[in-house]
Symmetry: C2
Subunit: 202 residues, 2 copies
């Protein structure tokens, strides 16, 4: 069986959220699995010199409109959160803590965290809010709180972020199929054609 | 009849080039005309603080691959020019000079200039090379040379660039349909749906 597709995303990224609602079904059409790998865009921006979209003149205004318009285009519920963008260490830690024992449940948790942030306007950069989302998902709140403060989990997230950046991830979503990287929810069209055709030389 | 669609692009932009090969046919399906409006990304980047893609760590490497892969995806001939990116004042001046008297011929000239740069690796940032492309297109070389040095044409281009930025154009291509702006060749899918449906609230 073909290797799984790597889906890199930041919990603060609207385009990562949009793609997260599509990527598994798209991959499944071609018999491919997807491994979800949250990372921290802030760490990548230290290397690229990037600036969070909303604070860029002209581009920020456009981005706010494009988020909302694209959500409708993709048919995904979306409300620009009151706090945006945010640092996403808390949800990333919760995710990797759970993924150590149950990657599939971690994926479902990631979807719940994305919905909490981009639909219900819950600021998941706060540990307490991430813990509440995890509790609503059925996890033990005290165990999640311990995980968020566990140095081993913090190191695990750091290592995953380093690996993502080592793989070239500079934006979200960043989708890697057999070493071929695609950046952006707007590359899902190319991802589909790539999977359907086995790729093309260029 | 509905107002024409404004197509803002930089002659140095691969994604502007890709979109330029699609936009008129796409608009025509919905009975819409397109006005081509070259502008200078460098002027916009002074406002956005942007950096030309190829010089951004991680993103630059990705961009070079994405240009070539996307060209194949769109079915467009493409070769990354030896000099890239370039300042595109010379082709922009030639364009607006011709557009004053014949907008349709100016559009065809723009297509020829894009092909010269992105297919035949001719560095159209050089006045001599832009003049040669114009001559090959059937224009009088001396008249083009005079136009490139004409203060009135220089002012016209400056005014068009200011208008583009005033409209919010920060990237290329930047497509405006009845005040609705779409950035990127990868928004052509949304442009098509927007035109087909009459747009949607968001």
């Amino acid at each position: 069986m073909a290797a799984p597709i790597d889906f890199y995303f930041d919990f603060s990224s609207p385009y990562g959220y949009f793609a997260s609602t599509k990527i598994d079904a798209l991959a499944a059409k071609f018999g491919r699995e997807v491994v979800w790998r949250p990372f921290l865009l802030g760490a990548a921006m230290k290397i690229t010199g990037g600036t969070p979209l909303p604070s860029v003149p002209l581009k920020g205004d456009y981005a706010r409109r494009d988020f909302a318009r694209s959500a409708k285009f993709y048919g995904v519920a979306f409300k620009l959160p009151s706090a945006f963008p945010i640092s996403s260490q808390a949800p990333a830690r919760a995710f990797y803590w759970l993924a150590r024992t149950d990657p599939n449940q971690a994926k479902a948790l990631a979807a719940a965290l994305y919905r909490a942030y981009f639909v219900d306007d819950i600021n998941i950069s706060n540990a307490d809010d991430t813990i509440a989302v995890c509790a609503g998902f059925g996890l033990n709140a005290q165990a999640v709180r311990a995980a968020l403060n566990d140095p081993a989990i913090k190191d695990l997230v750091k290592a995953e972020v380093d690996k993502a950046i080592g793989r070239g991830a500079f934006g979200s979503p960043y989708i890697v199929i057999d070493d071929e990287a695609f950046w952006g929810a707007d590359r899902l069209e190319q991802v589909e054609k790539w999977l359907a055709s086995g790729g093309w030389k260029y």
